[in-house]
Symmetry: C2
Subunit: 194 residues, 2 copies
């Protein structure tokens, strides 16, 4: 199903849209921005997609699908312990175009229809929140410390990822991946503590 993804040039449009939307958010990106990025006229986009909102929803949904797939794969490869999973998942998330959960929920979703917002919310839960919750629940079982609720930890973790992405530019000593490792290590020493 979803045979609407046949055309090659259509995916060029989706790719450009995803890159721009994920960087600057829904309302800041105009159709003319996307068109310009593709060296074409703005109205031509309507050949490929039904409208701006539909474009955003489809692009976000596609990204979430990729996250769902990617997280599942990474997590079962790294089946060892939750510490390893945390590092692996972090690196995978950083390898992807930013899926800024906070911004999407806070800024983007209020701009689109409730139906679409609800739909994205559900996909977001299934693709990101649920899988990540598993890791932290695993952590809770192994430790004897009183830990915050898993959902809360997931939120904190995702915030950290987003924070690492735009780490202050004045530190070029380390790559993003190295920075991520260090931060996650701090998080872990806290989790297993003692």
């Amino acid at each position: 199903m979803n045979d609407s993804t046949h055309s090659l040039s259509r995916e060029r449009v989706l790719d450009a849209a995803e890159r721009l939307f994920s960087q600057r958010g829904y309302s800041s990106v105009t159709l003319r921005d996307i068109a310009q990025d593709l060296d074409m006229k703005q109205a031509s986009l309507y050949y490929h997609v039904k409208g701006k909102e539909e474009l955003f929803v489809e692009v976000t949904e596609r990204s979430l699908q990729r996250h769902r797939e990617g997280l599942r794969e990474v997590m079962q490869n790294e089946a060892l312990n939750w510490q390893g999973q945390l590092h692996a998942v972090t690196h995978w998330l950083l390898s992807q175009p930013p899926m800024n959960v906070t911004r999407v929920i806070q800024s983007d979703m209020p701009e689109i229809s409730k139906v679409h917002a609800d739909q994205l919310m559900m996909s977001m839960y299934r693709a990101m929140l649920m899988p990540l919750e598993q890791i932290f629940m695993q952590a809770q079982q192994e430790t004897d410390l009183p830990l915050p609720h898993a959902g809360l930890l997931v939120g904190a973790f995702l915030s950290l990822i987003e924070g690492i992405r735009n780490a202050p530019t004045n530190e070029q000593y380390f790559s993003k991946d190295q920075a991520a490792d260090q931060i996650i290590e701090v998080l872990i020493r806290g989790l297993q503590s003692r």
Copy 2:
């Protein structure tokens, strides 16, 4: 200085603008939104401020000033140890209208003039990044663990704060402050580790 803050009703405008901007970001909030929130017509705003961008800059600057003041005060009251400062600072930040550093830098700043963006960037550094860096540098001195650079920790910490703000709504068992305490405790056990 800045005797432009005399009028009472002018601050009503700034307050409304700050609330809306800090919630939904610069480009998503229209002058008509702000006016409607104040039960007045959009054009009337121009009696109080020069334009949208100037309004945003002034409102953000004002908020940053408040943060600078507030953080300084909280930090010297809680002069005990960095752990106490971390908790105190967290609670103070949560008591304020959200100052979403990530969104401001990523989404809002590109929409305004470079001069204004640079200005805000500097204020942001002085009001938030610098004071917080102090806390983490203090932590680095007391521990013997290899910690990430302070700037990186500040970014992570601010991300955490923003993450706590929109913690999943399905946990009403805890207040934001309680959730914050738990998260910060995780961070600390990590920092002092062992």
